[in-house]
C-alpha cells in the first residue's frame, strides 16, 4: 500500500469517515458540472426533497452539446436547447455559479476551471465526466464520477469511494523537438495498455514531466483515464503556482502567501512508497499516432501498424477488430495515410498553447484540397486570447474553419460529425468506434501539431519536417 505520496496526503486530508461497507467517505473540495450528467442528479435531489449542501463548492458550464457554428438561442437542436435551459434553471434555483455562453468564461469544463484559478493543489475535484483527471496536473486529486455520485456530491459534498493504489510513472530525459505531451502520453498508454490503470492513481514524475508547461501537464493527466487510471496527478511546483497567480478565483494578497506556504508543503515525500513504479525514457518518444479503435493502439510516425504476432495475446482480438474497422493492413506504415477531416480542439488539446503550436505549423501554408479542417477553441478565454494574437487569422488563411468553443467533434453530440467512413486526424482523446459521430467513422489521435501537418499534406505526416524547415 502506498504511503506519503501526494495522493495519500490529499486522500487522508479529505476523509470524513470509514463507511460500514468498507469504503471511505471523501469530501469533495470542488465540484464541476455540465449539462449532460447533472440534470438527472438534480432530479434525484428533488425526488428526495434534498437541497444542495454547499452551492458555492459547485461550478457549472456548458460544453458537450453547444453548437460551434451558430450559438444564438434558442439552439437549432431542440434537445440541446432543452439541456442548456435545464442547466440554467438548476443553477438558478440552487444558487450555483454558472459560466454560460457569452460570459467570457464558458468552455469545456476541464479547460475552464484551471483558467479561472479554481483548480488548485491539494484539493479533491469531482465532475460527472471521466476526463476530470485533467485537474491532477495541479497536484489535486481529481476524478470522474457517475450521475448518482453527482447527486451525492450535490446533497452531501461527499462520495463513497475505495482508496486507489498509486503507480508512479517516471519519465527520464526530455522530449525532443516536435514531440509533445500528447505523444508522450499516447506512448505510455501504448506500453502499459488501456486497462493497466484500473484501480490506480497515476503519479507522473521525472525530469521530462518537470520540463512540461502546465498546459502540457494537463494533456498528460487528461489522458490518464485512457490508460484506465481514474486519476492522474503531478506534484505541484513553481510553474503550478505561477499559472494560478492572478487568475479570477485564485487567492489574492495575504491569502496568496498563505496558500503558497500550504501548496509548497504538498508533494510526495522523497522516500514515499508506491504500489508500483514504471520508468520511461522521454527522449525515445516519436510523434505518436493511433491506428486502431482504442487509445492504446498507437505507433510512432516512422513505424508500421503491428502484425498480430507482435502483440500480446490479450491485445490480438481487439487488434483484429481494429484492422477490419479501420481498413488497415498489418505491416502498413502509418505515415502517408490519407485523411478527410482535421480537428483541433477538446479538453486534451484545445488550449491556447495547442493553438499556438498548430498555428506556427500552418503559418503561410494551405490546407490540402478536399480536407475539411476546423479548430474549436477549448473556451471563450482561449478564443479571445487566440484572436488577440492573430491566431484565428492564421488558421483561417490556411483554410481552417474557426469555430466557437465547445466539445464539438471530440464526441459529436452537436452537429460536428464525421460522415460515413471518413478518416479524421484529431487532437482529441478517444478513437472508439463511432466516437466522432458516424457509426463507421475512423479517428487517428495525434498532437495538434501533427493534425496541422496532416491538414497541409492531406495525409499523416511528420511535423518535424515542417518545424525544421
Amino acid at each position: 500500500m502506498s504511503q506519503d505520496t501526494l495522493f495519500d496526503k490529499v486522500w487522508d486530508l479529505h476523509k470524513v469517515s470509514r463507511l460500514p461497507g468498507g469504503s471511505d467517505q471523501i469530501f469533495i473540495g470542488l465540484h464541476l458540472i455540465h449539462e449532460v450528467t447533472s440534470p438527472q442528479a438534480f432530479g434525484a435531489l428533488r425526488d428526495k426533497n434534498l437541497k444542495v449542501k454547499f452551492p458555492d463548492r459547485t461550478v457549472a458550464t456548458v460544453d458537450h452539446i453547444v453548437p460551434t457554428d451558430n450559438q444564438s438561442r434558442p439552439f437549432k437542436d431542440n434537445l440541446a436547447e432543452q439541456m442548456i435551459e435545464t442547466l440554467e434553471k438548476n443553477c438558478l434555483e440552487n444558487e450555483i455559479r454558472f459560466f454560460n455562453i457569452g460570459s467570457g468564461n464558458q468552455g469545456i469544463v476541464h479547460v475552464v476551471a484551471p483558467e479561472l484559478g479554481l483548480t488548485q493543489p491539494g484539493m479533491t475535484i469531482a465532475c460527472g465526466d471521466s476526463h476530470t483527471s485533467t485537474h491532477g496536473a495541479f497536484g489535486s486529486i481529481a476524478f470522474g464520477i457517475g450521475t448518482s455520485q453527482v447527486r451525492d456530491v450535490l446533497a452531501t459534498q461527499t462520495i463513497a469511494m475505495n482508496k486507489l493504489k498509486v503507480r508512479q510513472i517516471w519519465c527520464d530525459n526530455k522530449l525532443s523537438k516536435g514531440v509533445y505531451a500528447k505523444d508522450l502520453v499516447l506512448h505510455v498508454i501504448n506500453k502499459l495498455g488501456v486497462k493497466a490503470g484500473v484501480g490506480f492513481a497515476y503519479e507522473f514524475a521525472g525530469p521530462a514531466i518537470d520540463e512540461l508547461s502546465m498546459e502540457e501537464r494537463m494533456t498528460i493527466c487528461n489522458m490518464s483515464i485512457e490508460g484506465g487510471a481514474r486519476c492522474g496527478y503531478i506534484n505541484p511546483d513553481e510553474k503550478t503556482f505561477n499559472y494560478i497567480k492572478n487568475k479570477l478565483c485564485a487567492p489574492k494578497n495575504e491569502t496568496w502567501d498563505e496558500a503558497l506556504v500550504w501548496w509548497k508543503s504538498l508533494k510526495s515525500d522523497s522516500n514515499s512508497i508506491y504500489d508500483d513504479v514504471i520508468k520511461f525514457d522521454a527522449s525515445k518518444v516519436e510523434p505518436t499516432i493511433t491506428w486502431g479503435i482504442t487509445p492504446g493502439q498507437s505507433v510512432g510516425i516512422n513505424q508500421q501498424i503491428p502484425f498480430l504476432e507482435e502483440l500480446s495475446p490479450n491485445d490480438q482480438l481487439v487488434a483484429e477488430e481494429a484492422y477490419e474497422y479501420m481498413g488497415f493492413k498489418p505491416g502498413q506504415s502509418i505515415k502517408n495515410t490519407p485523411v478527410d477531416v482535421c480537428f483541433i480542439g477538446s479538453c486534451t488539446n484545445g488550449r491556447i498553447s495547442d493553438l499556438r503550436v498548430a498555428a506556427k505549423v500552418l503559418k503561410d501554408k494551405k490546407v490540402s484540397n478536399n480536407i475539411k479542417a476546423f479548430v474549436v477553441p477549448g473556451s471563450e478565454k482561449v478564443a479571445t486570447e487566440a484572436k488577440q494574437e492573430g491566431l484565428d487569422k492564421i488558421f483561417k488563411d490556411s483554410g481552417f474553419q474557426w469555430r466557437e468553443p465547445g466539445c464539438s467533434m471530440c464526441l459529436a453530440m452537436n452537429s460536428d460529425k464525421l460522415i460515413g467512413n471518413q478518416v479524421s486526424a484529431s487532437s482529441s482523446n478517444r478513437n472508439f468506434k463511432g466516437r466522432q459521430g458516424s457509426p463507421n467513422g475512423r479517428t487517428l489521435l495525434m498532437s495538434p501539431a501533427m493534425v496541422a501537418a496532416a491538414a497541409i499534406n492531406g495525409k499523416v505526416s511528420d511535423v518535424r519536417e515542417f518545424i525544421n524547415q
Binding site: 460500514p20 467517505q25 469530501f27 432530479g43 434525484a44 425526488d47 434537445l79 479554481l118
Partner: protein
C-alpha cells in the same frame, strides 16, 4: 402506472402489492426503455415510456397496458432480465412506472446492481415456480407480500422462499443501498471537515 412518483428511502424490509407478469427470456434494456429516450434531461418522463416499442406493437394488450395491472408494483420475469447496456435508465423507467420489486429466474449483472442502487430488490426463484406464478397471475390478479428479512413471499394461498444475495439483503435492511442517505448521516462530520480544510478560503467560487 402510478401518477405520483415517490422514490424509496432508507430501510426496506417489506414490499407488498399486486404483481404483473412479463413473459420472455433475455428482455434487454433497449426493450425496457428504447435508446432514443437516453438523450433526456431527467428520468421523470421515463415511466410512461417503459417498454414503449413493445407496447406499441401489442396495441394495448401488453401487460403494462392492461387495466388490471395499472397499480401493480411487483414484476415477475424470466431469465437474464435486463441484459444489454449499462444504462440506469432501464430500472429508472420501471421504478417510475411503479415497480418496487422484481422476482425472476435470473438478472443481468449491471441491471441488477443498478436496481439495488435505486432501491428495487431483485429476487430469484426456480424456473418452474416463476412459471406457476405467471400462469396464476394471468387468470387472476395476484397480491403478494414480500418479507425481505426472512426472504419469503406470501399470498392468500401460497408461500415461497425467495433468493437474494446476502450483501444486497443487508443493504436493504440497513438502508445502506441508499448511498445518499448513508452519507447524509455524517452531516456534522462533513461540516467539521469543511471547516478544517485549509484551502476553502483560497478558492473562492
Amino acid at each position: 402506472m402510478k401518477s405520483e412518483f415517490t422514490p424509496p428511502v432508507g430501510k426496506i424490509s417489506h414490499i407488498s402489492g399486486k404483481c404483473v407478469s412479463l413473459i420472455g427470456n433475455d428482455i434487454d434494456t433497449d426493450r425496457i426503455i428504447p435508446a432514443r429516450f437516453l438523450k433526456c434531461v431527467n428520468f421523470d418522463s421515463l415511466g410512461k415510456s417503459v417498454f414503449e416499442d413493445d407496447r406499441k406493437t401489442l396495441k394495448g394488450s401488453h401487460p403494462f397496458d392492461l387495466t388490471e395491472n395499472q397499480d401493480a408494483s411487483i414484476l415477475i420475469v424470466n431469465s437474464n432480465f435486463g441484459c444489454g447496456s449499462s444504462r440506469e435508465h432501464a430500472p429508472q423507467a420501471l421504478i417510475r412506472w411503479g415497480i418496487r420489486a422484481i422476482i425472476g429466474e435470473s438478472f443481468a449483472e449491471i441491471f441488477y446492481s443498478n436496481c439495488i442502487a435505486i432501491g428495487i430488490p431483485c429476487f430469484t426463484l426456480p424456473k418452474k415456480l416463476i412459471q406457476n406464478i405467471q400462469k396464476f397471475n394471468n387468470s387472476k390478479s395476484l397480491f403478494l407480500e414480500i418479507d425481505l428479512k426472512n426472504c419469503v413471499v406470501k399470498s392468500e394461498d401460497l408461500s415461497l422462499n425467495l433468493e437474494i444475495k446476502e450483501s444486497s439483503k443487508k443493504m436493504f435492511l440497513s438502508g445502506e443501498w441508499d448511498a445518499t442517505a448513508t452519507l447524509l448521516e455524517n452531516s456534522s462530520l462533513v461540516d467539521k471537515k469543511f471547516k478544517a480544510l485549509p484551502y476553502i478560503k483560497f478558492c473562492r467560487v
